[in-house]
């Protein structure tokens, strides 16, 4: 992927716009070689290469650390606080705190040996060979090549899912693929694209050609069906129950891939409805199934999947929140690219917006900005708890020309209400309350960017802040764990998680409507 065309920008990052001087960056141990503009946040560069930022790039977790092999990076306060003297002297830095200023060679800790980006206790049985883990997202594809003896990540590859041209959300893709011809196109497209990603790995590391033993793929139910070439018709209408939710196992040849004839390809199973193996992988990564206390995993994407459970019982659902958190259906909504408002706070009683790429012209607002803006506006009384903007002309100006309309706030209410209602219903099904939940993992990129305080203020997450943790790409992490986990254990895990269909849930509508409003400040302060 071309780093010059980076779309995602860290909100702290300075822009490299107008500056053409290129900086040379080398990432080891994968041997990635890049030229980037000066001032490009290292976060952006590494993110594009699959590095996770466990605390959301806030300098709180040291999960993103890199060791400077050539060049220099100045010391920040966070590094003084989080790293030991020894680590600092050895050249370790937190990549989320820096921008590219001079040529650099960086050793990325996450590519060293840890399977999970956090300090997890995941233990694996080493064996010979090479494995590849793939997260088939509806928007983005991510693949990692893993050395199975050491658990080391040998290479990372990301690409935009080409299927997106046949529909942005999964439902539109189902619409395109219900008929035979449409399905052929989508199936061929995804298989070809993933093959290309795998071949790219094998090209750079020819030895891997013979050593490749395992490929594990995860994705939501629609991606699962399209990769395995299953009938989409059952997913096009109620009751959305497909007979093909199981795991798929086969050889590369069965997929028309002429690579590693002896390798085993596995697509992990789905749960039901639209909750797929990406969420199953999320459970593996966050180890909900091994926890004594209740753990919650929330994917704040368009389908809004939620799992809550512990070693005894687990429930999941999808809440269909819609794409508001991704900036879609919001008048001036956009992705977190240059010119997007990504943060809003209150200063001297006024809304103060921060734009991605400092100094660039404001163009729109992304999901984290939207949640912040409404949270602050609630505190200032510019938006009522009913969602109403009381003052004519019923708009919320941020930085000219960017503003939120009354309809934008309504969209946010629909989206956040759906997630909050989903959590409440799962807890209800488990006979538990919010207090019983020990930890909440926010999966996905948006989970990394959203401010937990703002999410709480708007009633999206009604859980104490210290229990909420951004968890990065849990689907990919789980796919890697699955490389070391046998089929039986995974199928067993899938069976242990029961799917709660919200459409036919008697209380959904009442709870949803209740959760559509914003907490009043009194209610909020109590919690």
């Amino acid at each position: 992927m071309d780093i010059h065309s980076l779309r995602r920008r860290d909100h702290r990052g300075r822009t490299g716009q107008g500056v053409s001087s290129a900086i040379h960056i080398k990432l080891v141990p994968l041997g990635v070689d890049l030229h980037v503009n000066v001032h490009t946040p290292l976060h952006d560069i590494l993110f594009q290469h699959g590095v996770e930022f466990p605390c959301g790039g806030k300098g709180q977790c040291k999960g993103c650390r890199v060791r400077v092999m050539e060049g220099t990076l100045p010391m920040s306060d966070e590094e003084r606080r989080l790293l030991t003297d020894e680590e600092r002297r050895a050249g370790w830095r937190l990549s989320c705190r820096h921008t590219a200023q001079t040529d650099l060679t960086l050793h990325v800790a996450q590519w060293e040996s840890a399977i999970l980006a956090d300090d997890s206790h995941f233990t694996f049985v080493p064996r010979d060979g090479i494995g590849i883990a793939v997260d088939i997202g509806s928007t983005t594809l991510v693949a990692q090549m893993i050395e199975l003896r050491t658990g080391t990540v040998r290479a990372v590859n990301t690409a935009l899912n080409h299927q997106a041209r046949h529909g942005a959300d999964v439902m539109s893709r189902v619409g395109f693929g219900v008929n035979h011809a449409g399905r052929r196109i989508l199936v061929d497209m995804i298989r070809r694209q993933i093959l290309t990603m795998i071949e790219k790995f094998l090209e750079t590391s020819p030895a891997a050609r013979d050593e490749l033993t395992d490929i594990v793929l995860v994705g939501n139910t629609v991606m699962h069906h399209l990769f395995c070439d299953f009938d989409l018709e059952p997913l096009s209408r109620y009751p959305f129950s497909s007979p093909h939710l199981d795991s798929w196992e086969g050889t590369p040849a069965e997929l028309g891939w002429r690579i590693a004839p002896h390798a085993r390809v596995r697509v992990l199973p789905c749960f039901g409805g639209f909750v797929g193996s990406d969420i199953l992988a999320g459970v593996l990564a966050t180890r909900i199934h091994q926890s004594e206390k209740l753990i919650c995993l929330i994917d704040l994407g368009t389908n809004g999947e939620i799992v809550i459970g512990n070693q005894e019982r687990m429930r999941c659902c999808s809440t269909a929140a819609g794409p508001a958190f991704e900036g879609a259906r919001i008048k001036m909504g956009m992705r977190a690219a240059t010119g997007a408002i990504s943060r809003v706070r209150i200063q001297d009683g006024q809304l103060q917006a921060h734009i991605v790429g400092e100094g660039s012209a404001p163009r729109g607002i992304c999901g984290s900005g939207l949640v912040d803006a409404v949270a602050c506006a609630l505190d200032l009384g510019l938006v009522h708890s009913s969602g109403r903007i009381p003052q004519p002309p019923h708009k919320l100006p941020l930085i000219d020309p960017v503003h939120l309309t009354q309809t934008d706030i309504r969209e946010l209410q629909l989206a956040k209400g759906a997630i909050a209602a989903g959590v409440r219903i799962l807890l209800h099904e488990l006979g538990a309350s919010v207090d019983d939940v020990e930890r909440v993992h926010l999966a996905g990129a948006f989970g990394n960017y959203i401010s937990v305080a703002s999410a709480r203020r708007i009633g999206l997450l009604n859980i104490p802040a210290d229990r909420i943790h951004p968890a990065g790409n849990t689907a990919l992490l789980g796919a890697k764990v699955a490389l070391f986990t046998d089929k039986e254990s995974i199928d067993d895990l899938a069976r242990r998680i029961s799917h709660v269909g919200l459409s036919s849930h008697p209380q959904f509508q009442d709870i949803y409507v209740e959760e559509m409003t914003f907490p009043t400040s009194a209610v909020y302060q109590q919690s």
Partner: protein
């Protein structure tokens, strides 16, 4: 004549208990049920619809207003039937086959009811046959369909075809709605009307039965 402005206010503010109490008191004093509907209930629901359309009210406010309206209407309805009062029109409404989204459909149904229509709600996942039979058996003047999924929009077309082959198409006006629906789609499948919101649905229905 007594002033039942309180009923109007109770519906507008979604106060279910007061709406019920005021209605009961009025009926105890032999107030004319049709007068209650025409002069208080319908104007209140009109105002609720206007506020919703203007984005002042949202789903929660509209829903609690509808609940208050229904509480009152439940007390009044038996008397209306006794008097042989005619509804503005009879509407058969439902979410189409394959789709279970019903919040929008429920709002439309409530607004129609609060505007003096008799509403036969077939619920969700309603097959073309069920729409056809219900329209025929109830002698409906309107069929209203809701769909929220791009994959179930097609059921609207099949329903219109079923109404045709069932011989009821010419006896009813058909209106459709739901987030993915557009006027263009309505024209394409030969529906008589489309609206993007519940208040617009009432305006359409009124137009179809010839009320201003």
């Amino acid at each position: 004549m007594d002033d039942y402005k309180q009923l109007y206010e109770a519906i507008l503010n979604g106060n279910f208990k007061i709406a019920k109490e005021v209605t009961q008191q009025a009926l105890d004093k032999n107030a004319d049920p049709q007068m209650l509907v025409q002069e208080y209930m319908i104007p209140a629901m009109n105002e609720v619809g206007r506020r919703y359309e203007a984005n002042e009210y949202f789903v929660p406010e509209l829903l609690i207003a509808a609940r208050a309206m229904k509480a009152s209407l439940e007390l009044i309805r038996p008397l209306l039937v006794q008097q042989g009062a005619q509804p503005a029109g009879r509407v058969v409404i439902g979410t189409v086959k394959g789709d279970l989204h019903d919040i929008g459909k429920n709002l439309v149904a409530a607004m129609l009811e609060g505007s003096g229509f008799e509403v036969i709600d077939l619920g969700v996942d309603v097959s073309p046959e069920k729409f056809t039979t219900a329209a025929r058996d109830n002698n409906a003047s309107l069929v209203a369909m809701s769909a929220l999924l791009t994959t179930t929009m097609g059921s609207m077309k099949s329903t219109i075809e079923a109404l045709k082959s069932g011989g009821v198409r010419d006896k009813v006006k058909i209106m459709i709605g739901g987030a993915p629906i557009t006027q263009r789609y309505a024209d394409e499948i030969g529906a008589d009307g489309y609206s993007s919101n519940a208040n617009g649905a009432v305006a359409l229905a009124r137009k179809f039965v010839g009320i201003q």
